[in-house]
Symmetry: C2
Subunit: 462 residues, 2 copies
């Protein structure tokens, strides 16, 4: 099969592809707001129609929430790898609306010195990105009449609202949808023009506790002194979570953590990550994590224990002379390597309970989950293919990057379907996803389509 003809078709039909993307972007598929339920349905229908138009057997599948879109290729070549493509058609809310320079659902092309961008809610997260894959498929179908490998589509409309229907749907449709690997296009490039493939994602442990001291809220005049103050005690507990070098002081916390191999570290050094810019954006003059590790390692390859919420007592204006009965704390840990969330939860709880003062009691939230880190096997042929395809397209060696975040879908593919994920995407740090004035670079869209075409071509050669 000729790749050149496919790439030429992509170039020649870019305007049409942009018009199709605009069509999808005009649908107000805000999944978290029930007022937009019909719009989410409409976006699913749009995808079903579009996939049908290029010869896929596409269906909208009803859930208790927003529908899934599933598509198979009736004309798939035999004896080729079978890949699943995942994306999501829902978008974040648009408020505050007055901070948008253009209406969020009227996609607009803007010319910029560094190249055109398309501005609209969902342009980068994830409609623009998922359409890079569909457009690559369209070009193959048009030029060759069929795809180079076997493809199944699986797209959801609840990614921005906690995916309540996802796990039950995955469990119910395991046999139909399990493939060799999942391709996910919902991530970005480590820096502009540097094609990036995720080699590791941090896992996550969520926990939350209430420290109760007095039997009731007390008056600080009548009881200040003799009463245990839960706000002081929770602060003392939190202060024990880290040592003076920024290392987490919970016993056993680092079980399963290994330093990044020097070869990978060397590759990261050349991945184009701008530490100074990264820190400056956050208002930091230095990296505050574990001493001895760069900001990049701290973000991608080191575990963390962060307090995400802390509260108790009186938070209004002025003063209330209260010693509150309790204090509350929300914690998330980011996990790496082989860290075990269950063991870690037990270690964290032991750490807290071992340090409880007399007359204090801890209640744990029992509803919070944990997930292991994902470490990709980058020696798999799909990763080799991806690196080669991206390097060809972007004329710059693609890099395997860590990701500080935890992408739940990759964990579910692994835990429910036993399937690895390959994440590559073309977003940029300045795309303003989840914020007003979201945009996607037209270059990301165009070269993204071409990247997927090259990738599918390489996969067929495996």
């Amino acid at each position: 099969m000729s790749l050149d003809a496919v790439l030429a078709e992509i170039d020649n039909s870019l305007d049409d592809a942009m018009e199709r993307l605009k069509g999808l972007l005009r649908i107000q598929s805000i999944s978290t707001d029930p007022a937009f339920k019909a719009d989410c349905d409409k976006a699913a229908d749009w995808l079903v129609d579009d996939l049908k138009s290029i010869g896929f057997d596409a269906e909208k599948r009803v859930t208790t929430g927003h529908p899934m879109v599933v598509a198979h290729d009736p004309n798939a070549p035999e004896g080729t790898p079978h890949v699943l493509f995942y994306g999501h058609y829902d978008v974040q809310p648009v408020d505050p609306l007055d901070l948008w320079d253009v209406p969020p659902f009227e996609p607009t092309i803007e010319s910029r010195p560094e190249g055109d961008v398309i501005r609209a809610r969902g342009s980068s997260d994830d409609k623009g990105q998922l359409m890079t894959f569909i457009e690559a498929c369209r070009a193959f179908k048009k030029i060759h009449g069929h795809m180079p490998v076997k493809i199944t589509f699986f797209m959801e409309g609840e990614e921005e609202s906690g995916s309540p229907s996802l796990v039950p749907f995955m469990e119910a449709n395991k046999d139909e949808l399990t493939c060799d690997i999942a391709l996910i296009c919902d991530t970005g490039m480590v820096s502009p023009g540097v094609p990036s493939i995720a080699s590791q994602l941090r896992g996550m442990l969520k926990d939350e506790f209430t420290l109760t001291g007095p039997a009731l809220d007390l008056h600080s005049g009548h009881y200040g002194g003799p009463a245990l103050n839960p706000l002081r005690e929770i602060s003392k507990l939190i202060a024990t979570f880290h040592d003076d070098t920024g290392r987490v002081a919970v016993e056993g916390f680092y079980d399963g953590v290994e330093d990044v191999p020097s070869q990978q570290l060397a590759a990261w050094k050349n991945c184009g990550f701008d530490e100074k810019e990264y820190l400056e954006f956050a208002g930091m003059s230095k990296a505050h994590g574990e001493e001895g590790y760069s900001a990049l390692e701290q973000q991608w390859a080191r575990p963390t224990l962060e307090i995400n919420g802390l509260w108790g007592g009186y938070n209004g204006a002025g003063t209330k002379t209260v010693i509150p009965a309790d204090a509350h704390c929300k914690i998330t840990c980011r996990l790496v390597g082989d860290m075990d969330p269950d063991k870690l939860r037990a270690a964290l709880r032991k750490h807290v309970e071992d340090r409880l003062p007399q007359d204090a009691m801890i209640t744990w939230n029992q509803d919070l989950e944990g997930s292991k880190a994902s470490v990709m096997n980058i020696d798999r042929p799909e990763f080799v293919a991806a690196k080669s395809a991206l390097s060809d397209e972007w004329e710059r060696e693609a890099v395997f990057v860590g990701m500080g975040g935890s992408i739940p879908i990759a964990g579910f593919f692994k835990s429910i379907w036993g399937m690895e994920s390959l994440l590559m995407g073309f977003a940029n740090d300045d795309d303003r996803i989840h914020s007003p004035n979201e945009k996607y670079n037209v270059q990301s869209f165009h070269k993204g389509i071409r990247s997927w075409a090259r990738m599918l071509d390489k996969l067929a050669q495996n």
Copy 2:
């Protein structure tokens, strides 16, 4: 002047006095709620009319808030001490209403094994208590036609809502209202049946700060590790406020603090304070303040640094993977002895700022005040008279007690009018002031009236 006849008159007219008290209690003078503005006015009118009925020149004085009640005695004896009586006619809100066993503004007498109580909002705080003084005056006027000493009344209707009109009114009426000493009836007895006079009140320093770290709320996946977490940093700061023995670790904090003289300590040991009951009520198995001091000393005679509010990040249900830009903390210190609130504020702020990590910033609330502790000169003749009067009435030696709280009016009398305060009251710990089902013991009312009659008689002998 015969005291016995006055006491007999008090005994004989107790039923009438109770009916008058019920009349005042029926007025819904909730000062904090604008819906009850007319009721507050009505309570002031009620007091003016009642004081006029016993021969005082009483007036309602308009303020920008609720009115003051001021009364002078046109028939005051010459050459006697001149005392100011202070009380407040406003009451706390009554919610939650469904927790009341009786309607809060329909005063009800309840028989109990230990004696009758009158149940209503304000029965103890402060209508029942202020009426003990007025009824004592009534009995004197009836039996002798005039009071034994010169008396001025000053009653406010904003005590339960921050007294916004108090200081301007006091400044504007200093010459008219300054007396030898203020008598305040708004406190309780250290234990049932033990008449108590305040010999010291703790002062108060209020402060509040915001610790800012990141330039904006950050994602804990993208920035967890490298970013300074304000919730962790504020916890570390708070953990430095005390040492392991419960002593405040702020340099200079104890300047001006002295141990309680052994004689006073011995007196406190016999004051009837039940440490076990006091701690058990709060759910404490021990006193958590400074090691080496009893719960009573910790409450009355030791300074404290308490966190009254602490908050930052996400406090809702579930998890938000945020590293917030800032964290907030409200602090009050209780002061004793000669501690200087201004110096202490500077010391506290230095303590915090000296410990600030790189990339963190502190903003202090500049609107919060401080007040010194009050230490009464119990050798003054009025205190000697009070002790003698109370001991006679209650047939139990009256005790000088500390008070853990800070009673602002006593501070204002001192700072604005240069006038000492004598606080004696007849409330009990189980009166449920500020809570549903507030009550006042009929014994407190009856013997309270008799106590004031004895006190006024003693003052006249000075």
